[in-house]
């Protein structure tokens, strides 16, 4: 049984780390629900905030990030038997989150691609979307949003989530060499995107200034 009560006062007091990590547990075969449950509970306590942050930055949608964090941990529970070594649990969790995020990004493309008949479902951005856009409106966030998702992912995992090269490769399901290459491309893309964000900001500023100047002229 899992502890479903959440301490309302302290968000950091999440369910405790499982007492006995499954030392010597069979890698496959029988799959003990309680062991798996306790293990995932511990994983959640340690890593849910970073997984949530990662998914939020990948998808830029707070509700979706929460849903997908939940999905990722459920998947971890289901895939418990596939975890080879507990030391790798964090990278393994990122691997799951990566797949969840990628699935969502692909699904989202469909939805945006396919013309909808009749009701205009999904046509207008939701209020949540808009509020997110406001919150993530810094030049860096915008630049990040502009680079290709896989490059963004590599950057986030390496720089914000401290995955090593090997962990990054495992999480993204690619070779170590490919992971390095994608990260190099990602840094180049970010460089370019930041530069153009800065340009755009300067241009917008100049426009604002011109507008104010014009207004001032009109008032006179």
């Amino acid at each position: 049984m899992l502890n479903t009560s959440t301490p309302a006062t302290d968000a950091r007091r999440w369910p405790a780390t499982p007492s006995g990590p499954r030392a010597g547990a069979p890698v496959s075969g029988t799959w003990d629900h309680d062991t798996a449950g306790a293990f995932v509970e511990g994983l959640f306590a340690r890593h849910h905030a970073e997984i949530y942050a990662y998914l939020l930055r990948m998808l830029r949608d707070a509700d979706l990030a929460a849903d997908l964090t939940q999905d990722a941990f459920v998947k971890a529970y289901k895939a418990y038997a596939s975890l080879q070594k507990d030391e790798n649990a964090r990278a393994w969790l990122y691997q799951i989150a990566h797949r969840v995020a990628l699935d969502e990004l692909r699904r989202r493309r469909i939805v945006r691609m396919v013309p909808l008949v009749g009701e205009a479902r999904g046509a207008a951005p939701s209020a949540e979307h808009l509020s997110m856009d406001v919150r993530l409106s810094g030049p860096l966030e915008r630049a990040l949003a502009r680079i290709p998702p896989r490059q963004r992912e590599a950057l986030l995992l390496a720089e914000l989530h401290d995955l090593s090269g090997i962990e990054l490769a495992a999480a993204m399901g690619i070779s170590h060499v490919a992971a390095r290459a994608i990260l190099t491309r990602a840094r180049q893309s970010l460089r370019a995107a930041l530069a153009s964000e800065k340009d755009a900001e300067r241009a917008a500023e100049a426009e604002r200034d011109a507008l104010y100047a014009e207004r001032a002229g009109n008032d006179r």
Binding site: A11, G37, Q70, I110, V114, L140, A158, T184, Q188, R191
Partner: protein
């Protein structure tokens, strides 16, 4: 291990790429001693690289600053997750059904099947360009690598079945061109080393005054259209060259004697045969740009045997394309003297000359949509006040608000800017809001696409996707060529079309409705398509975000591959080419397949059944161009290239 010091480091971009890769790697993990030493030495010798390296480090610091503001997960997240896991465990204990992917229902998105697009004629292209060459092995060049000779692991050639690749190569420095056809049946993975060079079979020799602007082949490959630029002895003409011996009594015009200059032909008013498009109110005018009888050029120039000119004294603007059924050729063209902007022309294969079907002097052909034409125009009144184009060219001064579009086109630039109101020496850029429309060459009817700011749309053959420039277009004397993309983006979108739209409006009976589009086809007329909205679905995905100056985006016949070519701003004849893979089963862009991430390519790409072909830009050190072919079989891709050649041009 150090590389020789280079005084001009632009000589070797590879060195800098290596440095970039190494310092990026160093941000992730420690480098080997030799790599570190190399990088340090390189940074010490290259001030630019040090600057760039610093910039990367600064970006990294900025990125890491995001750690200081971690997002707060919702408080109930564990409760929800625990409940979902509990549910999962219970299901499992019951020994129940396969586990559902999503345990806690979320708001479901729309079903995929709700498609509004309709099927237009699926293009089936003959694979056998010239049958006798199909069986010929591709590689017979001595000394070249062959696939058999180097069976490296992971480099096994991929067998493919593709449409043949047609191209021309100059044989004597610019006037004689060999028309080559290459069959692609084996390609190799990424570095192409395992495959023999692609070799073409010479099909015909074409005499041209200069390198053609473009070559377009008919779907049956029976003829090729040669589009000449403004220079050279065959300047400003559109020639149709039969590739095979014309069948007796065939459709080629008997009125054109071979081997005479196309520029000497007299003006022949188009006949009013039922097969010609209705006049659309333009019939009273002679097809002025096509009948350049006043042309001073009378020297006979060598022309390809059987060639006929369907338009003289014009410069084709943009693309020229046959309709999928091969009945029509469409293009837009402007008078060679630049007196007006371009109009849309169609040629039905029987008439002596192509017929001009618009007269607003601002219409640009884009693509075929079944039997109809997708074209774009730049309304003179549209966006009102001219603006200076940001970043279009240095030293652009804002236009005074008094500039108003003039009714008479300026003779100097082909745009509607009135020269009288332009301040001296001020390069004016007029921002236009393009309108795209569907034109039926059989009836002359046209239907505007209601979505604003759609420029040069192309719809895939299944009618499901459209790609277009979503944004403004700049015109004005300051812009070379008179027109350039403004602010916007190149996008991929869904395509919506009423079921009665394409393909239903053909037939001679519709001729009576032609009066509806009396002038320039501007207003929507009574086509079936007008009864419902036609146009992009309005859910675009960015392919390329501007500023860019020009593009060419084309789907393959299946509509599952999209080639995107984007011109360099400095030189619009050279650009960057990419292939996007679309999955029609589910309507997604396939992120995992990135078979062609950005290669350099000359303007004029060709995408067809199973392959994409382009010409590489000639190298700086005298290297000649090659024809490159990316071919696919299912989701496997491979590449093959020809030996270098001079003046290569792909036949589209």
């Amino acid at each position: 291990m150090t590389l020789p010091f280079r005084r001009r480091h632009h000589d070797d971009e590879g060195t800098h790429d290596r440095a970039r890769a190494l310092w990026s790697m160093a941000m992730l993990e420690s480098l080997s001693d030799s790599d570190r030493e190399w990088l340090e030495a390189h940074l010490a010798s290259c001030a630019e690289c040090r600057q760039e390296h610093d910039a990367y480090l600064a970006d990294r610091r900025l990125l890491r600053s995001l750690r200081e503001q971690p997002p707060e997960p919702p408080r109930d997240l564990w409760a929800r997750t625990a409940a979902a896991i509990e549910q999962e465990a219970a299901r499992h204990r019951r020994g129940g059904l396969p586990i559902a992917d999503r345990l806690v229902p979320r708001q479901r998105r729309a079903p995929i099947g709700a498609l509004a697009g309709i099927l237009v004629a699926v293009v089936v292209l003959a694979v056998s360009f010239v049958p006798q060459y199909l069986g010929q092995p591709a590689g017979s060049v001595p000394g070249s690598l062959t696939a058999e000779a180097t069976p490296e692991p992971g480099q096994s050639p991929l067998d493919v079945i593709t449409a043949p690749v047609g191209y021309v190569a100059s044989t004597n420095g610019g006037t004689t061109y060999q028309f080559q056809v290459a069959n692609v049946d084996q390609v190799c993975s990424s570095d192409k080393a395992g495959c023999a060079p692609l070799t073409g079979s010479s099909q015909a020799t074409i005499q041209l005054g200069s390198k053609p602007l473009a070559l377009v082949s008919s779907p049956t490959k029976a003829q090729v259209v040669v589009i000449n630029g403004a220079g050279g002895s065959s300047a400003g003409s559109v020639l149709v060259v039969p590739l095979t011996t014309p069948a007796p009594g065939g459709s080629t015009s008997p009125s054109t004697p071979p081997s005479t200059g196309p520029t000497t032909r007299p003006t022949a008013p188009p006949t009013a045969s039922p097969a010609t498009p209705p006049s659309s109110g333009l019939g009273s005018q002679p097809p002025s740009s096509a009948g350049a009888s006043e042309s001073p050029v009378t020297t006979p120039i060598p022309t390809p045997a059987g060639a006929k000119s369907i338009a003289d004294g014009v410069v084709v603007v943009g693309e020229a394309r046959y309709s999928p059924d091969g009945r029509w050729l469409a293009f837009s063209a402007a008078p060679i003297d630049g007196s007006t902007g371009p109009d849309l022309y169609v040629w039905n294969g029987l008439d002596p000359l192509a017929r001009r079907v618009t007269d607003d002097h601002a219409t640009y052909f884009s693509s075929w949509l079944g039997d109809t034409i997708l074209a774009s125009r730049l309304p003179a009144d549209g966006s009102g006040a001219p603006e200076s184009s940001p970043g279009a060219s240095a030293g652009v001064t804002p236009a005074p608000p008094s500039v108003t579009p003039s009714a008479t086109p300026s003779p100097s630039d082909g745009s509607e800017a009135s020269p009288a109101s332009s301040p001296a020496n001020a390069p004016i850029v007029i921002v236009r809001q393009p309108v795209s429309f569907v034109f039926d060459p059989a009836t002359g009817a046209s239907t505007d696409i209601p979505t604003p700011d759609v420029w040069l749309p192309t719809v895939d053959s299944t009618g499901r996707f459209v790609t277009y420039w979503s944004g403004t277009v700049d015109t004005g004397p300051a812009i070379p060529g008179g027109v350039q993309l403004g602010v916007g983006r190149l996008v991929l979108d869904g395509w919506i079309q009423p079921l009665a739209g394409v393909g239903a409006s053909t037939g001679p009976s519709a001729a009576s409705s032609s009066g509806a589009s009396s002038s320039s086809g501007a207003s929507a007329s009574a086509t079936p398509a007008a009864s419902g909205a036609i146009g992009p679905a309005g859910t675009p995905i960015d392919l390329v975000v501007g500023p860019i100056s020009a593009f060419d985006a084309r789907f393959d016949p299946q509509g599952t591959r999209l080639a995107v070519w984007v011109a360099d701003s400095a030189d619009p004849t050279v650009g960057t080419l990419r292939l996007v893979v679309l999955d029609h089963g589910n309507g997604r862009i396939n992120d995992r397949l990135d078979p062609l991430p950005s290669v350099r390519a000359l303007k004029g790409i060709s995408i067809d059944e199973g392959r994409l072909a382009w010409v590489t830009p000639p190298g700086q050190d005298g290297n000649q161009s090659t024809v490159q072919v990316l071919a696919w079989s299912g989701d496997e891709f491979g590449q093959v290239q020809t030996l270098p050649g001079a003046q290569l041009t792909i036949v589209r």
